[in-house]
Symmetry: C2
Subunit: 175 residues, 2 copies
């Protein structure tokens, strides 16, 4: 799966505008996640479906789903979120499945805020490593830069994984 | 996830003993897969659970689960199986999630038979690449040799992925 957080030129948000994190998904997140992921303009409908499936799994199975969330709301609107979870059959390796920010709210440091919260939670749960998969294509250059700014390094590259000429790049970092 | 097929010294089975492939899981496969995977002696109970979950997903959701199977039976006994599927959001990349042979039937070429059938089916569905993840630890040396004999090559290695000192090795081959 590809992760995306396309914002550039992040600034620290001013304290009075920092929203509170929410960790429990609601039924309405299914539609809100679909809209947010679609709004970024970087994903295909098949990818929207996968983003929604993860929150549906969590709603149906709770923590046993293996999917954890960090949400940022502004009133009734979802403005940023991340989905992560411990990788089955590993001791302390976590996958960052999705991270996305509403394009209308990019440039306000929300991606950084959500990423830091994911890293804090993974560390708190005894996690050692956080991984994020993305594409090696030109379209995802901003995503790769985003991970690199957060101290992720390219650990592996699978040639032609997503399609011919579209490699999978696995980023990882110690948390 | 780690894949395992521990047999060595494979020979071609004599024609009169070649069983027919079965592709549709039955409810009884849940228990048979658990027993077969446990019998190999190479997996943890957490890994048994994952092997069983994949067949449960298939029984519940059918082809929409994304999990495909190749079974080899001897009467009512399951003697070998593989689980594979197209990787979501890829065009033609498949994952070989599990391949296992009953230890009492190893050395008869059943692993080779099942692997060849998976490759044939992936190719028939337009697949380009088949991947198999395994551990880089000493315990999995026979598994890595098995993949290498089938033309898989090591495409990536993620250090300390499964645990500290236990790397993930990603094997891949064109099909």
């Amino acid at each position: 799966m590809k992760n995306l957080e396309a914002l550039e030129n992040q600034k620290a948000p001013s304290p009075e505008t920092v929203p509170a994190f929410r960790y429990e998904p609601r039924a309405s997140d299914r539609e809100h996640i679909r809209e947010l992921v679609a709004a970024t303009g970087h994903f295909s409908p098949a990818e929207f479906d996968i983003a929604v499936e993860l929150v549906e799994e969590r709603l149906a199975k709770g923590p046993a789903s293996g999917y954890e969330f960090v949400f940022l709301d502004d009133g009734d609107a979802l403005i940023a979120y991340a989905c992560y979870g411990e990788i089955p059959c590993t001791v302390g390796s976590y996958d960052l499945y999705w991270i996305a920010v509403d394009p209308a709210r990019q440039g306000q440091g929300l991606g950084r805020l959500v990423m830091r919260e994911v890293e804090r939670l993974v560390h708190e749960r005894g996690g050692r490593r956080l991984y994020a998969d993305t594409s090696g294509s030109a379209q995802y250059a901003a995503t790769r830069s985003f991970y690199e700014r957060f101290g992720f390094t390219e650990e592996a590259r699978l040639r032609d994984f997503y399609a011919v000429g579209d490699d999978k790049v696995v980023f990882g970092k110690a948390v």
